[in-house]
């Protein structure tokens, strides 16, 4: 790891000022993506701005019909939160399946979304549920937020402060894990929302998280696994690597979506 200067701001405003003042500064919260990347010297930010001591930035609460999760809420907190379990159990379940228990004690929702790893779990939930990413500057809809591999709409001095999830009628997330890394080989989040159905896929797309509109239209007509009979997901644009071919991932998307629909229906 190369040298850097460490900053520990007490407020989001101070953190944003540090980003403006120090070019190439990076934010850190749980550090479970950034520290490994820095160890490998794939990143060498001259300044680290630690968000993990900003009070209230990890709050989890209901605001009207939305579940609001603070950026530094750790996966373990989301997984065990009674508020999340009541509002969107599929989201608690997703958080409880990230990495392992020790990783979940450190990793944060904001970190996962800011990094936008193409195999991370949270992007699938955010896109399927139609969540809003709130930053120190503006509100971003999920559809405009994710912009490809490790790319987001965030500007250099922009900081995620919270994520607002509108409540779905039903939802479920099913992940097929890479046994070694515990990341999603394919993960599918299905949400039956008041006005539509969304199916978001992580782990498979060469451009990161994406929606399967053919599945969404069929499920909107009838929210049952049967409704997907005969609809294939094309392998084009999916990842091929030592863990699985594009064809295998395409197959998994179909299997996992059916399982997710069944899981969502079973939760009544």
């Amino acid at each position: 790891m190369y040298e850097f200067k460490y900053h520990r701001p007490g407020t989001v405003r101070q953190a944003a000022n540090l980003l403006v003042k120090n070019e190439d500064a990076k934010l850190i919260a749980g550090g479970h993506t950034l520290i490994p990347v820095m160890k490998q010297r794939l990143a060498s930010p001259p300044h680290l701005v630690d968000l993990s001591h900003i009070e209230g930035l990890d709050a989890i609460e209901m605001k009207g019909r939305s579940l609001v999760i603070g950026a530094t809420a750790r996966h373990a907190e989301v997984a065990s939160s009674a508020i999340v379990g009541e509002a969107i159990p599929a989201l608690a379940n997703l958080a409880g399946g990230i990495g392992d228990p020790a990783v979940r004690h450190k990793g944060t929702i904001g970190g996962s979304l800011a990094n936008n790893d193409p195999t991370a779990d949270y992007p699938a939930a955010v896109l399927a549920l139609g969540a809003t990413i709130v930053t120190n500057k503006r509100r971003l809809k999920a559809e405009e937020y994710f912009q490809g591999l490790f790319s987001t709409a965030l500007e250099a001095d922009e900081i995620i402060t919270k994520v607002m999830f509108p409540l779905p009628k039903k939802a479920a997330y099913i992940k097929f894990r890479n046994q070694a890394s515990r990341y999603a080989l394919v993960g599918v989040f299905v949400a039956r929302r008041p006005s539509d159905v969304r199916v978001a896929v992580t782990g498979a797309g060469s451009e990161g998280v994406f929606r399967v509109t053919a599945f969404e239209e069929a499920l909107k007509k009838r929210f049952a696994a049967k409704a997907l009979d005969g609809i294939e997901v094309p392998a084009e644009g999916l990842n091929s690597d030592i863990h699985g071919s594009a064809e295998y991932r395409a197959h998994l998307i179909g299997v996992l979506t059916r399982r997710a629909v069944e899981a969502a229906n079973a939760k009544e």
Binding site: E3, F4, K5, R8, G31, A102, H105, A180
Partner: protein, 161 residues
């Protein structure tokens, strides 16, 4: 250099560290607490698990500066020198939950964290799921699982948490 103050195994510690120092490096090289091990150095294997503010974390993926102001507990902090072992340590001894012993400090720190979160009556399935982030290359896990189940029960009757 950055000045950090934290509690390590109940003792206040102040030190000047390079900000890029990992918590595990700080514990082993600065504090000479070599019970915490570095296995994979990529947050997979769990040999480096310690408790920060009572929660199991991988100290190879935590910066020492991030622990400033917090409370750290390592395997050395479970029982005083010469005193009886912590019930979880004793259970690993009793049930032969180790062979080479390299993963054991991390296993025990994780095991105690499991008991804190899941209680004293742990079935095998729960223990195996919870050991997701701790690798052992010797035992095949059977005796580790047995040790944790027994240690969890023993902790209910002990003053050592």
């Amino acid at each position: 250099m950055a000045k950090i103050s934290l509690i390590v195994n109940g003792n206040p510690v102040t030190a000047n560290v390079d900000p890029r120092t990992l918590l595990v490096q700080f514990l082993r090289e600065n504090q000479r607490l070599t019970g915490t091990h570095v296995g994979c150095d990529t947050s997979q294997c769990g040999a480096c698990v310690v408790h920060v503010d009572g929660k199991a974390v991988k100290s190879c993926t935590t910066l020492a500066v991030m622990a400033d102001g917090h409370e750290v507990k390592t395997i050395e902090g479970l029982a005083a020198d010469g005193a009886p072992l912590h019930p979880m340590q004793e259970a690993f001894r009793e049930h032969h939950g180790l062979q080479c012993g390299f993963c054991t400090p991390g296993m025990i720190m994780t095991a105690i964290d499991i008991v804190h979160r899941k209680g004293h009556e742990l079935d095998d399935h729960t223990i195996r799921e919870e050991l997701e982030g701790n690798l052992c290359r010797c035992t095949g896990y059977q005796n580790i699982v047995a040790s944790i189940a027994a240690g969890a029960k023993a902790m209910a009757k002990s003053d050592l948490a």
